[in-house]
Amino acid sequence: MITVLFFAQLRETLGCEQLELEASNILTVAQLQSQLQTRGENWQKALGDERVLVAVNQSMAKPDTPVGDGDEVALFPPVTGG
């Protein structure tokens, strides 16, 4: 399984903090995002935003970053700390 986490306004928009995905059909960050977008209009819109950032196992990732069983993937909006 892949653990997916959502933060800040993405978490609020989707009404979801964490979910588990079957890893068998997912090889990359882009594929994971596409699969999540099929969950509804809300998901399609929120995750289709090109500003959404992705971290795989706590390191910033790109669309072609590999994802597999046991990984933790976090999706979040642009950061605003400091």
């Binding site: 800040a8 971290a55 706590q58 390191s59 976090a74 979040f76 950061v79 700390g81 400091g82």
Partner: protein, 152 residues
């Protein structure tokens, strides 16, 4: 060479952190302390507090990585990055970036690099609570993006 990274709801004592920094940088000739605070922003409907959310598993690691990058660019004696999370009232301190180096130039540059990069790469998010009871997430600023990419 000692780096201190703190991500915590607790506030920091500037005097205390300065003393702690000096304890690991006895030969430093230049020290820059940057403090970021919660500002009211809009006089008509001021911010009363910020809520700082973060990604606990990743935050400290991201800050350590930034400090490591700064150390590749400049010779630094000691570095402290303290970032608060949770609810922080207007006027309170949010973040401290303290850099001790041999001379002022390294200290100023590394300090600016660290806060610029922190703002665009460390997983923190701010929600503003306003005087009229409304709240909303702070949008990332294009100017912050430009400041950070200026170092690339």
């Amino acid at each position: 060479m000692v780096d201190r990274i703190e991500v915590t709801p607790r506030d920091f004592s500037l005097a205390g952190e300065y003393a702690a920094l000096l304890a690991h940088a006895s030969d430093a000739g230049g020290i820059v302390l940057f403090v970021g605070r919660v500002r009211p922003d809009d006089a008509d409907n001021p911010v009363v507090a910020l809520e700082l959310e973060h990604y606990p598993a990743m935050t400290e690691q991201a800050l350590h990585q930034l400090v490591a990058e700064a150390r590749k660019r400049w010779t630094l004696e000691a570095v402290t990055v303290w970032h608060r999370v949770g609810r922080i009232a207007v006027g309170e301190q949010i973040v401290l970036v303290a850099v001790a180096a041999g001379h002022r130039d390294e200290a100023y540059q590394a300090s600016r690099f660290l806060i610029d990069k922190l703002k665009t790469t460390a997983p923190f998010w701010k929600k503003e609570h306003r005087a009229d009871g409304t709240c909303g997430w702070v949008e990332a600023k294009a100017s912050d993006g430009r400041a950070a990419s200026g170092w690339d």
